[in-house]
């Protein structure tokens, strides 16, 4: 099988090939690495690719054959610790840094037999919405190489969209899994806060961060969640999810119906701030859900308009503290000086990029004496109000339907000089992080050849509901089957022009 591209296959397909003994896992591994090495030059989704599949930590003996992700190639966002591959957070600060341990999520994937092909590009320390804040590489949108893949998990989204891996892990603090999934036409899910252990995820904003899978179908997403959703004693915010292990079974029906489901469309998410083509896709999606048997109604969540404000204050405040540890003492970049405090300043000034500095500054300001009450605490109170309003809506609705992003993927460089415009890219995804509720982005349609995602949100721990509805949607529309034209050919159509 010379043209074997394991990364373009679904998990189910790979399991089938293995079961029929048409391939063995070694072949899969070798082919996956080779395919990435060959085709990723044009996408730029990986920061590190394992040069050879040998030496990969393979699970021992018998359990491997039964393991649910056996031989499945995956990409890991470069802010998840891997003991055998550098973990840089796409920052000069951690250039070449090799962690002393595997993140819990990575450990669970490996135990399930997954093949970690490499580490994917991202915005530095997950701060950004286009992956342009990476200190090391530019990632192109596989649908149009002059467009951004979104961010901050842009490398993971692009790798999945380009068929380089079957799935990838990202982290979602304000939409960093869902927004790039939308831009790249793949499925991206942020489960309920606490579902997937954050142990080994390099923290951006601890109370908002959540690891999530990106895949080409809801089915694949659910299979990955079955491996990852587990209580972890190393993460004090980890929860015992009542539906752990039952996600794939939620999407197993071949012709699911949503009879009796109530879906709300908050008008604040489809206001003028959202491009008309995107709103059009959401209207079409509403019709699809109606055809599936659900009642779809407009509703209102007026406080949502303040979500972005609350989010940036909270996220930056936590980030300013989380990133204080990069001081050149124990790991990472050190810029020499004869004085230790001066060494701190030089190391941090050299190691962090502009956006990271901007957010550290904003967060430091919001926590500083005289401003704490008016900024950080006010934002935390707003968070409660927004969260309560969102939760309240689930008394009436099973799900909320919104766009994932206000626009399709924008052009590279377009928003780099306007931080606020960049922050607006997350306006639809942020509320779910504030409230800790699950949310998923699925391909909802296309505009001028670029994918448009729709987002579904559900109540805390209703992750299964979310998957069921998203699966019903993708099966009835088939949008998820459409792939960028060059993804299979291994060439980037418009690259370099």
């Amino acid at each position: 099988m010379n043209d074997l591209k394991p990364g373009s296959l679904s998990i189910q397909k790979i399991q089938q090939l293995l079961r029929r003994r048409e391939v063995c896992t070694d072949e899969l591994r070798g082919a996956a690495v080779e395919d990435v090495s060959r085709r990723d030059q044009d996408v730029g989704s990986f920061l590190t690719v394992r040069g050879s599949y040998e030496g990969q930590s393979v699970n021992n003996g018998g359990t491997v054959s039964k393991a649910s992700l056996n031989g499945v190639p995956c990409g890991i966002k470069d802010n998840l610790c891997t003991s055998d591959l550098p973990t840089t957070c796409a920052s000069q600060m951690l250039s070449g840094y090799r962690p002393p341990y595997d993140a819990t999520a990575v450990k669970l994937l490996r135990r399930a037999g997954a093949h970690v092909v490499g580490k994917t590009n991202m915005d530095e320390f997950a701060m950004g919405s286009s992956t342009e804040n990476s200190a090391f590489a530019v990632t192109h949108n596989p649908w149009n190489s002059r467009r951004v893949p979104g961010g901050s998990s842009g490398g993971s989204a692009a790798a999945v969209a380009a068929g380089l891996v079957s799935f990838a892990l990202g982290s979602d603090t304000g939409g960093s899994v869902r927004q790039p999934a939308s831009f790249c036409g793949v499925v991206g899910m942020k489960p309920t806060y606490g579902s997937i252990s954050r142990y080994g995820l390099v923290a951006f904003a601890s109370s908002l961060d959540q690891i999530g899978p990106l895949a080409r179908s809801v089915d694949d997403c659910a299979r990955v969640l079955d491996v990852l959703v587990r209580h972890d004693e190393r993460d004090s915010t980890s929860v015992k999810h009542p539906e752990a292990g039952a996600f794939a079974s939620a999407v197993s029906e071949s012709e699911p119906r949503l009879n009796g489901w109530r879906i709300g469309v908050p008008r604040e998410f489809v206001s003028e701030g959202v491009d008309e083509p995107v709103r059009h896709v959401v209207r079409e999606a509403a019709d699809v859900f109606r055809q599936l048997g659900a009642q779809v109604q407009q509703c209102s969540l007026p406080l949502i308009n303040h979500a972005l404000s609350a989010y940036y204050i909270i996220a930056c405040s936590e980030a300013s503290s989380n990133l204080a540890r990069y001081d050149g003492v124990r790991y990472g970049l050190r810029a020499e000086s004869a004085d230790v405090q001066e060494m701190f300043i030089r190391s941090r000034s050299r190691g962090f990029g502009q956006e990271v500095k901007r957010r550290i500054m904003l967060g430091t300001f919001a926590l500083s004496a005289g401003y704490y009450e008016d900024y950080y605490l006010k934002a935390a109170r707003l968070r409660r109000m927004i969260s309560d309003q969102l939760n309240g809506s689930f008394e009436e609705y099973d799900l909320l339907l919104t766009p994932t992003t206000p626009t399709v993927a924008f052009r590279l460089q377009e928003r780099m000089d306007d931080p606020l415009a960049m922050y607006m890219a997350d306006v639809c995804t942020i509320p779910a992080n504030l409230a800790g509720i699950p949310a998923i982005s699925v391909p909802g349609g296309f505009h001028e050849g670029l994918p448009v995602g729709i987002q579904l949100m559900a109540d805390r721990f209703d992750d299964r509901k979310l998957l069921t509805a998203a699966r019903a949607f993708e099966l009835s529309t088939g949008h998820h089957r459409r792939r960028p034209s060059h993804a299979e050919e291994g060439e980037m159509g418009r690259c370099g022009r």
Binding site: R98, P100, Y193, G194, S207, E233, S236, T237, S238, V239, N305, L308, S309, A310, Y312, I313, A324, G328, V329, R330, Y331, G332, L333, R334, E336, S337, A338, D339, V340, Q341, E342, M343, F344, I345, R348, S349, Q354, K357, R358, I360, M361, L362, T364, F365, S368, K378, A379, A380, R381, L382, R384, M385, S387, P419, L420, Y423, N433, L434, A435, G436
Partner: protein, 103 residues
């Protein structure tokens, strides 16, 4: 809320960052713009609301007091910019006074 050059200077010292003149100017503009956007939340009365610090309430989470002896000195020292005989090595404290070490 306007974030002036003095504020930028004060915050950058707390954050252990050094910005050149141009960066300071840009930072002052960016932060001002972001905080002006934030100003729209003033219309929301949050006074009677308890702040939310954790999105999901978890019960008391703790571990028992038992030593796990996973020795990893060499692994953690491996990534350090400078070490000596098992110690991390840093330059002396010259400017910052000892008072900062305030347990």
């Amino acid at each position: 809320m306007s974030v002036g050059m003095d504020d930028v200077e004060r915050i950058s010292q707390l954050a252990k960052l050094r910005l050149d003149a141009e960066e300071k100017k840009k930072m002052s503009q960016d932060l001002t713009e972001i905080l002006e956007y934030f100003a729209q939340v003033e219309e929301v009365d949050t006074s009677s609301v308890s702040p939310m610090f954790h999105p999901v309430d978890t019960d008391n989470v703790w571990r028992e007091d038992a030593v796990s002896d996973a020795e990893m000195t060499s692994e953690v020292l491996r990534e350090a910019p400078q070490t000596s005989d098992g110690f991390f090595v840093v330059p002396q404290t010259v400017t910052g006074a000892k008072e900062e070490q305030d347990e």
